[in-house]
């Protein structure tokens, strides 16, 4: 597919640190966090004006599902809008708990492990043609995903166990994958999930659901992660021959690779010699380079993706991690951890280094260590200034734009609407529900007709400015896009 729909669902970890004593338990804290969400949308599971979805998932994880995007930079901006929303919610929740007599700070971490061994994910969705042969897909994609951690892992300070010393690993999620392919998520936790909810025309498409990825703080790493995966899918779809790296045991391989930061860990490939992750990745990269040379770049970021991919592999292969320590999360984090350890005289097992690891993922732009490094020029960024703010209020140019239009228009007229990824209806007009199966569609006459029933939009609605919207809600993303003309701007209720 030359054009593809992408999406990513991020589960966040949360923590309350009072001045002394124990913090609020996660479920209670999550309720505080989502209070502005419930105030805005009357539920803790809502689609918001930028087309994405906010909800509380299994185990009280706040979760943000990006709107469907057709461009990688749009995807990364929309994903980062979710991080910003979580930060806004944390700020509001902190005020709320202080009013209720609790002290301290609230942390929202975009990471994938806690100190008790629980894991939560960053799930990618890729729209693929239904004609893609599933056996071919898994045979090529699984070895790619198992080894992808060396180019896009978030890095982890792994505490000592009875068997192993404390050490630095490529991945957060690797130890928490239990199966290669399965239809269950919470129970079996497979690398590729086969539950078939295409959210589009099931006759032509399926939605590939990948749950093995680490949450990335670096937008550059995110570009490489999504961009390389898209290229591999594109080659699978085109039917070109690709080297056979089918792994004998994907789960043992993914863990083995993660824990050897030298990149020398060799894994069993069916019917071949043992391979290192670099060898498998390099084989796929070379095939992708040839494919792009023959077929041309299908989007404007391909060259950047290939350059980063090559450089990341060279870095792991040579052990010269300075090649990528501004661009790839695990290397950015590893350098920081080593600097703190050196300067403060700490050994790898020291809790302070685990704390540095966690704080790297803090979504708070002032307090989070990744954000601190970016401010200081120690981490690159593929997004323009202002892109995240824009993505908080503007849906990407896909079906999400129509969803956002329904949500925002209904709100302006004070009408109730119900939307999901595919369905759109005004609660008062249940028979006029509109089903949008094409995720690429940005206009649809049925949606126009539905919204025309609310009133003459062109004369009655006025788009509110960014300044008007700022400060009128706990988060910019939870403010109304339109004002109904002829009515004075109503004051939002105070944020409590």
């Amino acid at each position: 597919m030359d054009r593809r729909i992408f999406g990513v669902e991020t589960e966040f970890g949360i923590s309350h640190r009072p001045v002394e004593g124990r913090g609020l338990p996660p479920d209670e804290l999550a309720r505080y966090l989502f209070r502005p969400v419930v105030e805005f949308g009357r539920s803790s599971n809502i689609f918001i004006p930028n087309g994405s979805r906010l909800y509380l998932d299994v185990g009280s994880h706040p979760e943000y599902a990006s709107a469907e995007c057709a461009d990688l930079i749009d995807l990364i901006a929309n994903e980062n809008a979710g991080d910003r929303i979580m930060h806004d919610l944390a700020v509001a929740a902190e005020k709320a708990i202080h009013l209720d007599g609790f002290s301290g700070q609230i942390y929202v971490l975009k990471n994938n492990v806690d100190s008790a061994g629980n894991s939560y994910g960053s799930h990618e969705n890729y729209l693929i043609p239904r004609t893609t042969h599933f056996r071919r897909l898994s045979g090529i994609l699984l070895p790619f995903l198992v080894t992808r951690q060396i180019i896009s892992g978030a890095g982890r300070v792994v505490p000592a166990t009875d068997e192993t010393e404390a050490h630095f690993a490529f991945s957060q999620r690797a130890d928490h994958m239990w199966e290669g392919i399965s239809s269950a998520t919470t129970r079996a936790r497979p690398i590729i999930n086969t539950r078939d909810e295409p959210h589009s025309d099931a006759a032509t498409h399926r939605r590939l659901h990948v749950i093995v990825g680490d949450s990335n703080m670096s937008t550059t790493t995110a570009l490489l992660r999504y961009g390389s995966t898209d290229l591999v899918l594109r080659m699978i779809e085109a039917g070109v021959p690709i080297g056979d790296y089918e792994l004998e045991n994907p789960i043992s391989a993914i863990r083995h690779i993660s824990h050897d930061i030298t990149g020398h860990a060799a894994v069993r490939v069916r019917g071949a010699e043992d391979h290192t992750a670099v060898q498998i990745q390099r084989g796929l990269l070379q095939r992708a380079q040839r494919f792009v040379a023959e077929h041309g770049a299908h989007h404007e970021h391909v060259e950047t993706v290939l350059e980063l991919w090559e450089r990341a592999l060279e870095s792991v292969e040579t052990g010269d991690h300075t090649l990528i320590d501004h661009d790839i999360d695990w290397a950015i984090k590893k350098r920081l951890v080593e600097e703190v350890a050196d300067a403060r005289g700490l050994e790898m097992g020291h809790r302070r280094l685990e704390q540095v690891d966690m704080a790297y993922h803090d979504v708070n732009p002032d307090r989070g260590l990744f954000h601190m490094l970016r401010r200081r020029g120690r981490a690159t960024d593929v997004l323009d200034a202002g892109a995240v703010t824009e993505a908080m209020i503007t849906p990407p140019a896909t079906r999400a734009a129509l969803r956002g239009q329904v949500v925002s228009t209904a709100r302006a007229y004070g009408a109730q609407s119900t939307v999901d990824w595919v369905h759109h209806k005004l609660t008062d007009r249940p028979l006029d529900a509109v089903m949008l199966k094409d995720p690429f569609a940005v206009v649809d006459s049925r949606i126009d007709a539905l919204l025309d029933k609310l009133g003459d939009r062109s004369s009655q609605l006025r788009e509110r400015t960014l300044d008007e919207r700022r400060g009128s809600g706990a988060s910019l993303a939870l403010t109304d896009r339109y004002a109904l003309l002829g009515e004075p701007e109503r004051d939002e209720p105070p944020l409590i």
């Binding site: 806690d114 939560y120 936790r189 300067a343």
Partner: protein
């Protein structure tokens, strides 16, 4: 199959025990000394934002399992 990373003890260090030679070298190389200053400033800023009790911060960060 390669083994797990082995423990590599670190020499305790820090600004205090920087040798006179190292200090002189830093002075002779303005770029290195600027980098050292930037690193000190980064580490100081990190100390101001991190909760001082690392053990409690880490051990209290417990979620329920997700997907």
């Amino acid at each position: 199959m390669a083994s797990q990373p082995q423990k590599q003890p670190r020499r305790p260090g820090g600004e205090d025990d920087q040798s006179p030679e190292a200090a002189a070298q830093a002075k002779a190389n303005p770029q290195a000394s600027q980098q050292a200053e930037e690193l000190d400033s980064l580490l100081d800023e990190i100390d101001t934002v991190l909760e001082s009790n690392a053990e409690e911060f880490v051990s209290s960060f417990v979620q329920k399992g997700g997907q």
